[in-house]
Symmetry: C2
Subunit: 208 residues, 2 copies
Amino acid sequence: MRRSAQDTKQVILAVARERFAADGYDRATIRSIAAGADIDPSMVMRYFGSKEGLFGAAAEFDLDVPDLDRVARDQVGATLAAHFFRRWEQDSASLRILLRTAIVKEAVADRIRGIFAEQLVPAITGLGEAPETARVRAGLVATQMLGVALCRYVLRMPPVSAMDTGEIVAWLGPTLQRYLVDQPSPSGASADTNGADSVPFPLPESGA
Amino acid sequence: MRRSAQDTKQVILAVARERFAADGYDRATIRSIAAGADIDPSMVMRYFGSKEGLFGAAAEFDLDVPDLDRVARDQVGATLAAHFFRRWEQDSASLRILLRTAIVKEAVADRIRGIFAEQLVPAITGLGEAPETARVRAGLVATQMLGVALCRYVLRMPPVSAMDTGEIVAWLGPTLQRYLVDQPSPSGASADTNGADSVPFPLPESGA
């Protein structure tokens, strides 16, 4: 049975994500991706124009952020942590390729910055935040959620790579809750921290 | 004035970190590093044996973790967040090269896993934790601290890259405090999350 153009594109994208993630951008070839999708290389070029075009389409990542202002205020962190984790696990190949290539290709780093700015900031603005505050909150959420993606899918750092999703989400939920709705510099930090330009805590001398 | 062998090695390592970070492992050359250190390439080989040996020495990263059991229990998170940040800012070139190369070179990913396992887990075990629990806590700390390093130094994601260290530390301190000493699944998460194998929170349908 012939595949529709839409199906063919999806198959090509799935193979492209695998090849880019396994081989890296430079070593992955249109030829090997076409072979994996059981299609002629010229068709890949016809659909995506170039290797860059194919990469751009393969690296697109829809965070699919839930409508946070329809969630109980004290559950936004847990909801978002669970949601992110579901997206990460669904699409860990895309996420891995995005992170791997973002680190060496500035254009892809720019794509990740764009994904957060375009998809996460508006969701937080929807919670009633001023845009500048929403950007800070989105940035903090990104540090935690990209960090867990890095440790789990790229570095495969135990035990982060082995923990079950329910356990990780239970740990990360309260973190995101604080980043999303709490005031800056909550209880754990001393008062003189605010706006200080250098690290404000007295540190014990270590042995080294 | 002649430099001592120790000084020369430090100069070579400093230049190597810059070159590996700027050019990546494959494109950085012994020749360009030697030129930057104003020394003959044969001397670089004599000190470090090979490009791999030089890379290994340049990528060494001492977390220099403070002695946490000498810190007031309710301040361990703030102390560790401030300490990590001071280390990151001191040595952001080394950190960037470690992250950049870890993502493409399995041997370097292994080095990062080793750094956390050998340096952070013992500090947490020193707080009186069983080794297995200490490993989970260290992993959670790693997700947050490597995530902020990724967003700030590699992806240069605003506003994370622009926030001053005091502000970031004030946000991250309570996160590390919870990861270091709190019980799993604290208040923010619903009870049925524990040990669940899939994401437990009902999510609102999003528009996409």
